[in-house]
Symmetry: C2
Subunit: 225 residues, 2 copies
DNA sequence: AGTAATTCTTGATTTAAATCAATTTCTTTA
DNA sequence: TAAAGAAATTGATTTAAATCAAGAATTACT
């Protein structure tokens, strides 16, 4: 059996914001880390919850969703190992605005709000790291927002495919159902389906298997508008 | 004539992130602050610039815009006195992704990147304040993104009017041209024009003068979808 | 004040994407 | 492995908003 301390050490190693800390600092943080497991479909937190902890995904996958005023669910982003959530509200006394649900069996490391804030007081490097991570997420959300207001669905899907494929353009797997992709891009499954067909017919992508694709013409895909 | 030190003191008083600091900490920061003036239409910074300073608006108004892949300009947000910008990139070594332009004669207080980071090392409270401000901006941008993907233009405009009016529902001024509102909401001036007319015809708002309006039925406006 | 230059409004038309509806394909589980 | 359930596809239709175009109102300029 693996000890809690081991899990904590693993979490700390995994997460970029802790990586550049001194050994001393890391040793201070380790005892603050608690680990929890979530089964597929289980809720990590819901909108309205008070934010008690910073949550770091150690393994598995979590989807973060939001319910819009009109009742529609929108997928905001996915958390993979090393990603964390809860920072936004950790410092604002507010309640959570979104939902976190495990898409796979998921291990989460948690640090309680008070513990974390206390640690920040004595570790300027940790604060800088958090600010850095914050800055990146802010830029990414801002970019998403701009895309949503200025780009067509076709363009957004093309970008999504290029991002998702990364360097594995010749065989990559969609990390979520088309239904979720639709929600993520702010459209409907029907439209996603049609755009996939269009891209395939035009020789931009090729379907290898269920949920597996190859990008045939990255240049054209990048120029879709 | 007003001395630079006075300007600096004014900036520091103005900005929420500095307000809760101790007198000692404030005294340390004051000499780091440089002041600059910008005329209407003048550029504070452009995309591609390296981020050299945190910019704090002391007076006037600044619009932050982004150029989308298709060349369209989108207005991201406005900075009013007390607001600041540049935090996102201050910690990421990256270049600016957006443009800042003075909409009115504007005074800006600037703190150089290195100076600011050094100050953070010794002032945990400052770090917490920044994180707090960051969290709020992140939440606001995320909300904007969700609205853009899930709400109709009509709904977005209704929300925009309610936000802009604040508590002055019986006489408020639009802070920007309809063209800019269109850009901000991701639509066209023509559509904005038609929606204004629709709201007026349905007794939701009333035009008092050029760019001045009264909200007649806030409840209905909030329920538009 | 008077003219030029923007910005705003309104109408007509087109277009992208949503919705509605019916199969088909895939996944789960009994 | 068969049956049930969920997800994805495809077609027909509707709808919200963009685009194109012209005129009216504001604002800026000399």
């Amino acid at each position: 059996m693996v000890h809690d301390a081991d899990h904590a050490a693993q979490c700390i190693k995994l997460v970029p914001i802790f990586q550049t800390l001194s050994d001393t600092e890391r040793a201070e943080i380790a005892p603050l880390v608690k680990q929890r497991h979530f089964a597929v479909g289980e809720s990590l937190f819901a909108a309205g919850d008070t934010v008690g902890s910073l949550m770091i995904v150690a393994g598995g996958q979590v989807k973060i969703t939001q319910i819009a005023a009109n009742g529609k669910e929108q997928l905001l982003y996915l958390l993979n190992p090393g990603d964390f959530d809860g920072e936004a509200a950790l410092f604002t006394n507010s309640t959570r605005q979104n939902f976190g649900t495990a898409l796979a069996p998921t291990d989460v490391c948690m640090i309680r709000r008070q513990d974390f804030q206390k640690q920040l007081q004595t570790s300027p490097q940790l604060a800088l790291n958090i600010l850095n991570a914050f800055g990146q997420r802010l830029a990414s959300v801002a970019e998403q927002s701009t895309q949503a207001t200025t780009a067509s669905i076709e363009e957004r899907l093309a970008n999504y495919l290029l991002e998702t494929a990364g360097d594995k353009t010749d065989d990559f797997k969609l990390p979520m159902k088309k239904k979720d992709i639709a929600s993520y891009l702010g459209t409907t499954p029907e439209t996603i389906s049609r755009k996939f067909r269009e891209f395939t017919d035009n020789g931009l992508i090729e379907k290898l298997a269920v949920n597996r694709f190859r990008i045939l013409d990255a240049d054209s895909l990048a120029m879709v508008e």
